[in-house]
Structures are given as structure tokens and as C-alpha cells.
Symmetry: C2
Subunit: 279 residues, 2 copies
Amino acid sequence: MIQTLTIVGVGLIGGSIGLAAKKREVAQRVLGVGHRKASLDQAVARGAVDEPFLDLSEAVHQADLAIFCTPVDLIAEQILAAAPGCKAGALLTDAGSTKATIVRRVTERRPNHVAFVGSHPLAGSEKRGVEFAHADLLEGRVTVVTKTSETAPADLNRTIAFWRSLGSEVIVMDPEEHDRALAMTSHLPHLVASALVGALTPSLFPLTGTGFRDTTRVAAGDPALWTGIFLQNRESLLGAMDRMGIQLDYFRRALLASDRTALDQLFGYAKRLRDSLEH
Amino acid sequence: MIQTLTIVGVGLIGGSIGLAAKKREVAQRVLGVGHRKASLDQAVARGAVDEPFLDLSEAVHQADLAIFCTPVDLIAEQILAAAPGCKAGALLTDAGSTKATIVRRVTERRPNHVAFVGSHPLAGSEKRGVEFAHADLLEGRVTVVTKTSETAPADLNRTIAFWRSLGSEVIVMDPEEHDRALAMTSHLPHLVASALVGALTPSLFPLTGTGFRDTTRVAAGDPALWTGIFLQNRESLLGAMDRMGIQLDYFRRALLASDRTALDQLFGYAKRLRDSLEH
């Protein structure tokens, strides 16, 4: 059991971690850090957090384990700002959607008395805020935990154990490998959904059905969060766009040639893959 | 009230029309046509159809109103094959996802004693079969009813009244205008979802979350149905791909330049549009 767990950023993910930690008795005390008192109060009222803090360092310095659930372009700076005053042996991790930049920045500069291991729970949504948090958000979902040549096995194992104790499955990956994978599985779908919506004249909205809504749902995500993710993962994303472009080109050529067999094969391949995702 | 309603193709859409027609007492008798006895029996068991028919003409010739819910590349031929033996004044319509080709082919060759008006209820799903049909599928959904210079106002009004009696809202459009619009709102999203899945290495499946699943759900649709739709609407689809390509290019250029402002604007625009879809 963790004595003091500090959650920096008590929104959908941070709030769900707090709720799960309380429900599963993973931590004795849960401290929550935010910059708006109203949402901190809400986190306390929902039982996601025992004690609210507006001061990041004050809360992180008490932690045995601290998790940073803030936008990806803030995480490394916040960790490095709080690290010097942390308890010896404190474990710091995060919930950011990109890993390579964060892990590199923190690893280069962290003080030796604290441990850092990067994490990414694949359990987001286009919703934001602790009001959408729930104790089961991580259950059965995958969390990626990063491992580099600098990662001490004991720190890696503590991080893995933390996520498992919250109900998550864990996959260990290299940070760059994570970013290349997530460019395909998460960032590119976000880009494509946004491009699909952006290409649509609003006068056609009444002619959208559930298909359009499903396909573009993620485009309702917070723009600033996604800009941060895209800037940190731009190279992998450009590669992902190229891979998507090849597929789009197959369709274009099949359409130009009115090639029934080619279209059948493209749709058939996509259907088989998509069906296999449900199992 | 319609005396005899004949539904050709009793799957998700046809079955739902039958269930709604029975529930709302829109028709006295509902005849269902299919080519597999098992699914016809299921349609009868579910109460979507009163009498099953394996012979299309036999059932359509008894109809006051017949609706063709078969793949788009079959509809025009089936209508034209059955039309000569239809009752005088019978109204024929369809539920196809494309309209221009179907309406043109039927209008050119239909006998004068039957009326034809094209329809497209925007209420599909990636699911198929009468087992997924339900009486409320059309409720609050939009059905496009097509109008051309050949469409008699009385026939148009009967078609509109039919869909409204099933709980659907109706939008009247020119068939070509429908196809251009649906290329953007339905066919392009299907293409993009299929391309996204097709670009993904199956080894990355464990790293997909709800976002990927939402964005690609429609790719599980029946390949043959979608090939038929794409071939009938290829020109509009190629135009839709170009419009999407412009948006993708905005993202690519913003990424290449690491342009935070441009990314914020692109995501912000998409979010505002997507949010407005929910209202």
C-alpha cells in the first residue's frame, strides 16, 4: 500500500486514478493538485482526493508516489520543478500521451534521490474534468510503462505494480516505440477525425448519421491538449500520415478505375482487421 | 393506412421498417421478400413481416407501396423487373445509400402505371440482418426523399407521408445533390475509417483505445454493400477525397513547421463544428 499518493491534475484521468486508488485501497492518503479551487473541491466531493492543494511542490514533496496527469507540454517541467524537494526514494510517473520527449527531458535532469518512470494509460475520452472520472476507467485497459537503458528494474516494477493495482493491464515499451505506435493508434485517428469535420460544410450537418458521429467523435477533444501532443510527436505523425496516404491512394486508384475487385479487397481487408479488434 | 406494404430485403433497415409499420399501424399487411428462407422466417418470428415471399414479383405485385431495401447495385433492376406486373397506382420507393444512378435508371424505363420516388433513410449501422432491426430505428432520424423534374407532387407527398408515419423526419433533395452530400457525410467517413484500419499493423492492436475504435467502427460494414455504393458515387467521392486532402495538407504543413497557432486553429475549428453536431 502507498502511504501518500499525489495526483497532479485531477481531471478525467487523474480523478479516475484517485477514485480507483481509494476504492481498491491502493493508497492511504490521496493528495490532489490543481490550479482551480472549484475543480479541486469537486474532486474532494467526489472522493477522488482526500486533500486538495493549489501548490504543486507542497503536495508532491509529501508523496511516496506522485503521478502527473497534466498536458504533455507541462509534465517534464513540473516534474523537474518539484523533484529536488521530494522524499528520498519517491517514485514519480505521469499519464502523458507522448513519452519520448518527456522521458528524455526528465531523465537528463532529475536529481538522483527520486525515481522517474514514464507511463501512459490508454483510457482517455473526448470528455474533460473530474465530473467524468470513474473508479473503473482503467479496468481492463492497457497502460504503457516505459523502459530505457536508464530505468532501474525496481522502479519499473513499482510502476507496473501501481498500474496493476488500479486494475490496468501493463505493456512495457521503449518511449520512442510508444510514440511511433500511438501516432498510428491514437494521434492519426484524431487528425483524421478533425480533418473530416473540417472538410464538412455545416449546411450538411442534418445529413450526418451515426457513422459520421462515431468517426469524428474524438475531434471534440481539447484543442490545446492535442496541439501539445502533435508537437511532441510530429515526426512519428508525419510518418503515420504517409502510411495513411498510401491507403487513401489505393482507394483513389480503385475509384478512378471503377475497379470492383480492388474495392472489395480493400473493404474486405479493413473489415477483417476491424472485426478482429472486437475480440 | 396502407393496405399492403411489401418490403424487399428484410435486413436491418427493411426489418426495422416492418417493425415500425406494424407498431404504428401504418400498414394492414406487410409482405417480406428475401432470398434466404431462414432470415425470412426470422423476420416473421420477430413480427417485422406478416407473410414471407421468396418470389420478388409475387410479393411486389400485391403491394400498394413497395420499398426496396437491397444493395444499391440491385435496386434499379429489381424495381424494373417487378414494375410491369404492379397494381395501377402502386408506389415504389427504396432505401439505397446512393440516389442519382438508381433514380435515373428507374425513371428512364419504368412503366407509366406505377410511381417511383427515391428514398434514403439515414439510419444504417455496421450491423446487418433482421436480428438487429428495431421499431424505433427511424425515430427522429432523417430520410432523404428525392425530387426531380419528373416527380409528380402527389407521389412525392405519399412518399414523404410514408416516412413520417414511420417516425422519420424528411428532407427533400435532388438525387445528385443527395449523392454529393452523402459522399461527405457517409461515404468519405467509411473510406477514411477503412484506410485507417488498413494502415495499422495488427501487432499494434493492443495499443488501440476507444478513440481508434470509434473512428474506425464503420469499417466493419459489409464490403460488397460499400463497393456498390462507392462505384455508384465515385465522382462525388473523388471530390470528397480532394476536400479531405486539403484539410490533411493543412495539418501536414502545420506539423512540418511545428506551428502551434495553426494546429490550435485547426483543432479548435474542428472541435467547434463537432460540438455543434451534438445539439
